[in-house]
């Protein structure tokens, strides 16, 4: 099919397939090595991944075999409910991710060059739709299977849960894609809330059963039947929505397609640098941009109190993190119910860390660049102290609320009052310190020395970026896990807090050392009666006052 244009003469109809093939040819033409060569270059990394993967799978199988023998009410409840909680969490996460990124995306270059052409967008985007559905299916299935395995489920049940998670995620992603075509969000948002609440309710039920408040009879069978329903509903929803989504692909705005892609690109860049705090920054900025404006509120207090009161006002403005924080209180009870009370402090501290991070936006902004911090008339330590007041109070409340879990009041190993309170306190402190560390640690220094690795080079700090926060949890909670006295954990926590508060600034310490060395040399020179003044030529030119 062709048309005649006054300026260009006869103009043909662009073929989407040819355009895509043309792009593929260009890309292949620019590749300087094939996938096999790339893998050969990175053989150390490939070997490492295989080795660690084998170890992980072996550990998972061992855990499955060990837990499958447990027949207590707590274990039965965990086996029946944790996979369901995991599937609900997978589904909620699927909806959040789908809404945030697309789920169908196109790069800025594709948006600019391809979408502008007179082509049928459905043919260009069909592959993207299928890819996003496939990713949702496999990721959902994998995570659900993992949780089912760890709770000691049988192989058949693991398969059923994997199907439920996979098909559920497939169905919801397809539904989100269909909604993307209409640019409608409220249904996916509502669904996301319902499924998220179902996950929390399941964890609460788990605690209730472990405490003996709810009956356990028939739970495992009922739970598996529920998994069949989720899988079936997911499949039907997925197939219907896929057809609808494909039909609507033509109508998706270019901006809607490229926004998700640019978000992914930014997050990918930060993720490759293993800077997960930066990944979060990008998400927070994206969310703020979508929100656009807020109902401005008058601040309160003066000095550092003004910073603290702003954090208090943030709680009302954005209460969602409070809901998550409240939900995180269930975790120590659930872990205790599972019969792994020894590991309760590190596991719960990690969850608390994740729950406290959203309350530390001020800390993040005031430590990532110096410009805004410099505007405030306080020292860095004063600023840090002020902006962690609200998270610290929340951590303290969390510690009090979860003390019964550590005491074993609702099941699991029983501890005496002092030991239980201490364990809860140490867990709360560890979670708080880990969140501070995660939010305020400096990113890897690419200007310093770098270490050669199989696939190039990386700064040493990059490795530690992965451990941000986790290191604090380990430092503070492992002493009590290994049976050392509680004061060891508290002492480590006090030292860690002092360092985190003052900011262990290697550069500044080196500068101070350099300054002292310079002063010493000047003093020596003065005593010897010679000046060390800079006698080099002054390059500054001055003009007269205007």
């Amino acid at each position: 099919m062709s048309a005649t244009d006054e300026k260009f003469g006869e103009v043909g109809q662009a073929d989407e397939k040819q355009l895509k093939l043309l792009m593929r040819d260009w890309r292949h033409g620019r590749a300087d090595r094939n996938i096999l060569q790339a893998l050969q270059d990175a053989y150390v990394m490939v070997f490492g991944v295989v080795l660690i993967g084998a170890m992980l799978i072996s550990s998972i199988i061992q855990a499955q075999q060990s837990v499958s023998g447990c027949e207590t009410d707590s274990c039965l409840a965990a086996r029946g409910l944790l996979p369901w909680a995991a599937v609900a969490a997978v589904l909620a996460f699927t909806l959040v991710a789908s809404r945030m990124f697309g789920p169908i995306v196109a790069s800025a270059a594709e948006g600019f060059w391809l979408m502008d052409a007179a082509v049928d967008r459905r043919k260009l985007l069909r592959g993207r739709l299928v890819a996003s559905l496939a990713v949702a299916f496999f990721a959902g299935a994998l995570f659900s299977a993992l949780i089912a395995t760890l709770t000691g489920s049988t192989l058949t049940h693991i398969g059923i849960w994997a199907l439920a998670g996979g098909l559920g995620a497939f169905g919801l992603t397809a539904f989100a894609a269909a909604e993307q075509g209409l640019e409608r969000h409220w249904i996916t948002s509502t669904l996301q809330w319902i499924v998220g609440l179902a996950a929390v309710a399941t964890l609460l039920a788990l605690v209730g059963i472990a405490a003996g408040w709810l009956p356990v009879a028939g739970l495992e069978q009922l739970s598996v039947e529920f998994a069949y329903i989720v899988a079936g509903a997911g499949l039907v929803l997925g197939l219907v929505s896929m057809v609808v989504a494909h039909h609507r692909l033509r109508n998706i705005r270019r901006q809607r397609l490229t926004a998700g892609s640019s978000l992914i690109a930014g997050m990918q860049g930060a993720a490759f640098a293993l800077d997960f705090a930066l990944v979060r920054d990008i998400l927070v900025e994206h969310k703020a941009k979508q929100k656009g404006h807020v109902r401005a509120t008058r601040g309160a207090g003066q000095g550092t109190t003004a910073l603290i009161m702003r954090d208090v006002q943030r709680l009302w403005r954005n209460p969602m993190p409070l809901v998550v924080w409240l939900g995180s209180m269930v975790v120590p009870y659930a872990v205790q119910a599972l019969g792994i009370s020894q590991l309760n402090p590190p596991i719960s501290a990690l969850v608390l860390m994740a729950a406290l991070i959203p309350f530390m936006n001020s800390l993040r902004v005031l430590t990532r660049t110096k410009g805004l911090q410099r505007s405030f008339p306080f020292s860095p330590a004063q600023i840090k102290t002020a902006v962690i007041v609200v998270p610290a109070v929340l951590a303290l409340i969390w510690g009090v609320a979860t003390t019964p879990a550590f005491l074993g009041a609702l099941g699991g190993e029983q501890l005496d009052v002092i030991a239980g309170i201490t364990a809860a306190l140490i867990t709360a402190i560890a979670g708080l310190l880990a969140a501070i560390r995660w939010m305020s640690a400096k990113p890897a220094d690419y200007g310093g020395p770098i270490v050669a690795i199989g696939v190039g080079a990386m700064p040493p700090g990059m490795l530690f970026s992965m451990l941000r926060g986790i290191d604090m949890v380990a430092l503070v909670t492992l002493p009590i896990v290994f049976g050392l006295p509680a004061w060891v954990s508290l002492l480590i926590a006090a030292i860690a807090f002092a360092i985190l508060r003052s900011g262990f600034d290697k550069d500044q310490m080196m500068e101070q050392q350099e300054e002292q060395r310079r002063l010493l040399e000047e003093e020596k020179a003065r005593k010897q009666g010679r000046s060390t003044g800079n006698t080099t030529k002054i390059k500054v030119q001055r003009s007269q006052k205007r």
């Binding site: 807020v294 902004v365 990532r368 110096k370 505007s375 008339p377 390059k539």
Partner: protein, 217 residues
Amino acid sequence: MGAVAKREVVLTVEKLKKAYGPVTIVEGLDLKVHAGEAVALTGRNGAGKSTVLRCIVGADKPDDGSVKVLGTKMNETNPEIRRSVATVIDDLDFFPDLSVVEHLDLLARAHGIHEPDALVDEVLEEVQLVPQASQLPNTLSSGQRRRLALATAFVRPRRLLVMDEPEQRLDVEGIEWLGNRLREELADGLAIVLASHEPALLKAINAREVRLGEPRG
């Protein structure tokens, strides 16, 4: 502000040297800025204007020489220095979840201003950000963000104002407003150091010019 205050030395830079690797950006710079005086660093791109400003505010450490603010050696973490020095350079960050007006309110309160509403409103009006008062910083245009950065310097007490090309991304009206505002600030005894390529602005504040680097050949 009286004549005595105007004679007070607010900023002293002595034999400042800064190099990046083998490239010396600035060497042997001496500078004294009195209260009520404006000093403009000028020169071609790459002459070291921004580097000098970053050393003055403590964002960069000089390789040699010293910077003193009101007789105190520059240490950008010192609360007294932070209280005295307002800066508008390129490293200003914003809270993504606080609106324009909330940023100014917070900053004013942090500096101990008890009822900042009137002051904040006045500054918002001046920088023409009243319609954007409840917007989050990410949704502002680059020019509006520049105005917000300038506003942060005017809602707080200050003895020294350091600005790097404040005219950037401002329209003609904005530059005119800035010139008038800075002239008022000078009359009140503020010391100003700025880097600028805008002759109209420098003329408006009657700035003493310090030219950096070799002239373009």
